[in-house]
């Protein structure tokens, strides 16, 4: 049987093993940390979105980061 740790790496395998409630809780912690660090809710433009229009976007964050991104990569 395919070993999840080998196939996707330890960090991802661990994340997959959490229940939805545990993942939600972890995600909330990340949110709290993000907001405590001064992170903004206003997203940066998603230029690949089919309904992207510049006036729909707020100001670009100083860090220049995207609003939605994978926080774990292989």
């Amino acid at each position: 049987m395919l070993d999840a740790e080998v196939a996707v790496g330890g960090e991802w395998a661990e994340w997959y093993r959490l229940t939805p409630t545990q993942r939600w809780s972890e995600s909330r912690k990340l949110w709290q940390q993000y907001l405590a660090m001064g992170g903004k809710l206003d997203p940066e433009p998603d230029t690949q979105s089919p309904f992207y229009f510049p006036e729909a976007s707020g100001t670009v964050p100083a860090d220049g980061r995207t609003s939605v991104r994978s926080i774990r990569r292989r």
């Binding site: 395919l2 994340w15 939600w24 809710l41 690949q48 729909a56 609003s67 939605v68 991104r69 926080i71």
Partner: protein, 230 residues
């Protein structure tokens, strides 16, 4: 149906906006309007919140101003490319009870995966993660329907190889419809990755074609809005 649903299913996104699939009918939009008022949500861009645009497949965007969610973007859609209408999506929904006072409904996993087949780079690794999470959680206890879902949607060569080993009959059946499956155990992993990329490219092309007339309409609405302002 966005980043929050992905987190619950096992992928991981840090999303600063919230996407909702909604029923586009006048009574529901009135209820929704009240909820948006509570959030002091203001419409941004085009089109306006109108059954007509939602039913065509447009997304309607808001930005909240209420305390605790100031700046939060809320995106609403009633129709998604390749997905059934809202009543069927609702019937198939997944419900998570996250605490004694919080219950959340999301698209079913197959619907969410389908919805993620867009022209955007960021959605494709997410599909892979969503199916991986489901596979590693439920393999060994899955029924025919779930196995069929993996065979149709898995995007990890290692999982495809194991699926062929574990479910040869079902695999052979699905391979008639999916080219990458026919290459499993015959071609190296790099070749499987290439075929998966081809599937992705095809969907991206379809997504662009789907949005082309909608974008044209949005452009027109935008110009009309600017013109009426001046």
């Amino acid at each position: 149906m966005g980043g929050q649903a992905c987190v619950l299913y096992g992928a991981a996104e840090f999303s600063r906006d919230t996407d909702f699939a909604i029923l586009a009918d006048p009574a529901n939009l009135r209820r929704l309007g009240k909820a948006l008022q509570e959030l002091r949500a203001r419409p941004i861009a085009v089109p306006p919140l109108d059954v007509k645009y939602l039913r065509k497949g447009h997304a309607v965007h808001f930005r909240c101003q209420a305390r605790g969610c100031a700046g939060l973007r809320v995106d609403l859609m009633a129709r998604l490319r390749g997905l059934s209408g809202f009543p069927i999506l609702w019937r198939r929904r997944q419900i998570w009870r996250l605490s004694s006072s919080l219950e959340v409904a999301g698209l079913s996993l197959p619907d969410l995966v389908r919805a993620k087949k867009t022209q955007r780079d960021k959605d494709w690794p997410m599909i892979r993660r969503l199916v991986e999470a489901d596979y590693f959680t439920y393999r060994g206890k899955a029924g025919a329907k779930q196995i069929g879902f993996w065979l149709k949607e898995a995007r990890s060569p290692e999982i495809l190889i194991e699926l062929k080993r574990e479910f040869p009959a079902k695999f052979a059946q699905e391979a008639k419809k999916r080219r990458v499956l026919r290459a499993v155990a015959k071609k190296p992993v790099q070749e499987l990755e290439k075929l998966l990329r081809r599937e992705e490219d095809l969907e991206r092309t379809k997504d662009r074609a789907y949005w082309r007339p909608l974008r044209r309409e949005m452009e027109l609405l935008r110009k009309t809005k600017i013109h009426s302002r001046n």
